[in-house]
Symmetry: none
Subunit: 189 residues, 4 copies
DNA sequence: CATGAATGAGGCTTCATTCAT
DNA sequence: CATGAATGAAGCCTCATTCAT
């Protein structure tokens, strides 16, 4: 692809970088492989970005937007009760894990740049879940505590999906059942 | 360090490798940096191990032992009810996560050698938890399902501890409370 | 040397590689020593060639050309009877042996890449000599048989020149006499 | 093999080294692979030989004996006319080439140690052939010149056998015919 | 804007050699 | 006599980065 494109914008690089992030994690967001994917040269990348780190930052910035803000908007757009939204969120997010295996590598990465992006995303997500739980009638501190647990369960689930998928339900139906169990557990009094 | 030691055994290398694994993940288990850490030369490493892969395998083998078998023995040695053991397991394991941030990088790694070690460890752990839950009165399939959830929660918790520790309880006391909540949730009927 | 040259082409590398091949055989056609010879860095070599094998292939390709095709062209360009051309070929080829001791190491090398280049060169040379012998009146099978003998004699001569030069005639005059003897023997009925 | 042998002599090393020389040339006469073949350790080799060079020298010394002196004795032992002996020599020697492919690597080697052994062997062989030719009625200088050609042809033949065997006769019968042609040519007036 | 060329750090691997035991 | 352990030089390769054009 992109054989016809003669001039590339920084944005094209970020898009390709996001793709690499989703597919193979932060380590894959490097100048060389992305240049190859775009049919460009390394030098070209260094024109748009001062360094690999700068590119990665730009990609993570975009990731924060699409990986969280967009999802939150989606979930809210369709309305419904807080519990229904919670369920929808879980469905979206666990399916994404399967199609985007690189995410889990992002969540557990050493690089400070990555970690700080992960912190932002985690905070947004935990806050969002906490808000839904408050909407479902929990007080602030209880909501926060349960939101953390919910997020931990999601992250762990993603991890297992990436490494030992055979331990997890393989049909969509069974996955939905598991999600409902999780939601029930989380909202149980 | 180690300036005084003249002779090194393969075991010394594995120990140093395990250290690197715990601190910085599988990528850090490499001949040259570990040689440097031991004050030895790379050639020496190649006396004990045919290749970097062989070293990594040896280190992972040891990891399987200390990270799981030893822990399981510890938990069982002290006796108590299945629920008490479950709580103790969670305590041991979440504390270890904080002191060994590299573990989380091990859990989500691309290298097939690493993945297969992770699979062994995961299976052992899930099986152990499932056995405890059966001991607590659950039937086999229910126990297995809950064990998977428990493990997902643990892994996610470890992930959060490694990346956003401030979202988690900082005192030992508060951590114990959270663990108790998890155990209660898992063993609730 | 080459301190002044700032930019190197792949061709420069091949030339330097051919030099190494002629002087010290295929084993000397390696990235690092040639980089040193060119006053460049190994990384630079890896820009032009994907691997050592690729460089060696390029060098051998050039060797096939200069060691055979060019010589055949030279011999044919000057015209003359087949027997005269045969004599000229022998002269060219034995002189080259003395200045390029590495050639003999190329002829007897284990590496499959090298062997296949040697096979091409041998076939071309034997075919060329056979054609000259057919031109001198021999039938196809007799020409082929004698061409093989001629080539064996050349190779053996090269070998002796490389290892025990004092057993061979040292003056150009005496070498020419020996060559004439060989040609006479080969074309005798 | 040699699993039962507890103590090795220097002679055992030389024998194993000669084997390696015949099979894979001088480069294979190295401490490490021969230790492996003998089921010993490198250090053991360094007890018997000061260095790899010393081992190689010992092996080449033995090679000079078995590769030449023994052959000459064989040829002479059976008696017959000089021409008959010449034919027998050629037969022995070309067959040896096929069973001992390493020989050709020995004949064309850079290492001065190897070259000087090759010089001794070549001189012995050329002298022996020259003596046979003198016995067949040629004067000293003519005999010497033809002996060199004969040896060149043999060496070249060995080379071709090692690299492009399909260019050479494959049946024993055809090889004998080619040898007779060579002898006839060499002894023709 | 982008390329092509080059650099250099870092890691892998082999092997002759050394040496304490 | 021999082993096991270690060294160091040499070569392979990758990749982030730099820079002249």
């Amino acid at each position: 692809m992109n054989v016809l494109r003669t001039r590339l914008t920084a944005d094209d690089w970020v898009t390709a970088g996001l793709d690499a992030l989703a597919r193979a994690g932060p380590d894959a967001v490097a100048i060389e492989p992305i240049a190859a994917a775009l049919g460009a040269t390394k030098g070209s990348g260094y024109w748009h970005f001062a360094s690999r780190a700068t590119l990665l930052e730009a990609v993570l910035e975009r990731w924060i937007a699409v990986a969280t803000v967009n999802i939150i908007d989606d979930v809210n757009a369709q309305g419904g009760s807080p519990v229904a939204r919670l369920e929808r969120l879980l469905a979206l997010v666990t399916d994404a894990t399967i199609t985007h295996p690189g995410v889990i590598l992002t969540l557990s990465h050493q690089d400070p740049i990555v970690r700080s992006a992960v912190q932002v995303v985690t905070a947004q997500r935990v806050d969002f879940v906490a808000a839904l739980l408050r909407g479902a009638g929990f007080n602030a501190s209880e909501a926060e505590r349960r939101a953390v647990l919910a997020y931990a369960a999601y992250v762990g689930y993603a991890q297992l999906a990436a490494t030992v998928p055979d331990k997890l339900p393989s049909t969509k139906r069974a996955r939905r059942a598991l999600q409902r169990t999780m939601v029930n557990t989380l909202t149980a009094r």
